[in-house]
Amino acid sequence: MNEIIVAASVIGGLGAVFGIGLSYASKVFAVEVDERVVQIRDILPGANCGGCGFAGCDAFADAIVNGKAEVDGCPVGGSAVAQKAAEIMGMKAGEVKRSTARVLCNGHCSVSREKYVYDGMDDCSAAAQLFGGHKSCSYGCLGHGNCMKTCPFGAIIITGGIARIIEDRCKACGKCIAACPKKLIEMVQKDKKYSVICRSKDKGAITKNNCDVGCIGCTKCVKTCRFGAISMEGTLAKIDTDKCTNCGECIVVCPTMAIRIMDFGD
């Protein structure tokens, strides 16, 4: 009987000492955190899935407050969480802009040319290491689907040899951007439908040779745009989404149809 009491009291005593010690330590070593971090952390789902691209819900809440992440970055919580997070951050709910990833290449098999016949690993990075890939255009999508494999939401499909994004499914986590060796995927505002779907920095004639739908730098769209939203970066047109009004006039004048809507329905 005596032994039981000794054992129980020693272990119980140890537990009590550690418990009191830890609760005291948690006060002494308390780290002051921005109260918004705690509030946002509370409204997040708490699944620590990493879908936002951060290490967990804590890291994501921290990133929102520090301005490193958008309030609508949580793919699990969706718009409900985005609204609440926006309120905590002092933004109006209407200011929440939804982003989507967009693949800036439309050189599918029937309009683009191949440099050589590739018969290696089914992987974009591996293919890109062989003379910059099998496409004649060294900027084009290789279509081995590194982005598709990394997308947690099944929002990317490979058709006609290039990657396309189903924008309704895209949660803008940005994993595909990191996965693409050609850096063809860009995060854009979802409501701005028009993009220059080409990244070729080659001169117009070379681009034209390689691909029927590349931007050849003719500057017609720049002259047409009434809002001054389009500018040239070298031989490549670029649409400033802040100025773009979705009027669609550029799409009409583009001779190669490099400006177009790239949204694929669900």
Partner: protein, 193 residues
């Protein structure tokens, strides 16, 4: 002295590697070995926790459990001490060094109740090691864990680019790879006579 330490080091890291020969700590070994960077972070955290908990449990054994003659409560007492200690260390690190907290912080709670950590403490007591040897052995065992998990993470990174039969993709091929690494480590048996 130096020779003895070197022998203990080789023995803990290669010959009696905690993961690959003793089969302790398999859970983080398979769970956190997808990337070399995270594996390294986990390894460093394990070295740290093993060294600290070796020291703490030795003190507990000598000054609490032995005087009260309740050595049979070793397991429960050790877990209690390790868990409380790691929690405490986590708080201190969070307060004092933000960088170290970001590097170690995520992994520390994962290993508080890990069997490899408990294992190293119990093996220390079984071997009748003194305080310094306990801490050294804890550090060396953690080094062995780090070596194993980093090697394995390297293999898994390569597996990503290999053509694997459909039915073996993912976890099965990882288990097969782990068993092969383990077999390879058995080759170190007999390195020290």
């Amino acid at each position: 002295m130096i020779q003895a330490i070197l022998t203990a080091f080789l023995s803990a890291v290669l010959i009696e590697n905690f993961v690959l020969v003793r089969f302790l700590g398999i859970c983080p070994f398979l769970g956190v070995s997808k990337k070399i960077n995270t594996a390294l972070g986990m390894g460093v955290a394990v070295i740290f926790v093993m060294a600290v908990s070796s020291a703490a449990t030795w003190v507990l054994q000598e000054f609490v459990l032995k005087p009260f003659k309740i050595e049979y409560l070793q397991t429960i007492g050790f877990i209690l001490v390790i868990a409380a200690l790691v929690q405490f260390v986590e708080m201190v690190i969070q307060k004092t060094s933000k960088q170290l907290y970001q590097a170690l912080g995520v992994y520390l709670p994962l290993i508080t109740t890990n069997c490899a950590v408990l294992g190293v403490c119990i093996i220390n007591i079984q071997n009748g090691a003194n305080f310094i040897n306990s801490v050294l052995y804890g550090t060396f065992a953690g080094t062995g864990f780090t070596l194993a998990i980093v090697l394995f993470a390297g293999i898994r990174e390569r597996l990503e680019f290999s053509e694997i039969p459909e039915s073996l993709k993912g976890f099965p091929i990882s288990l097969i790879a782990a068993s092969l690494v383990s077999l390879a480590f058995l080759g170190f048996q007999g390195l020290i006579k």
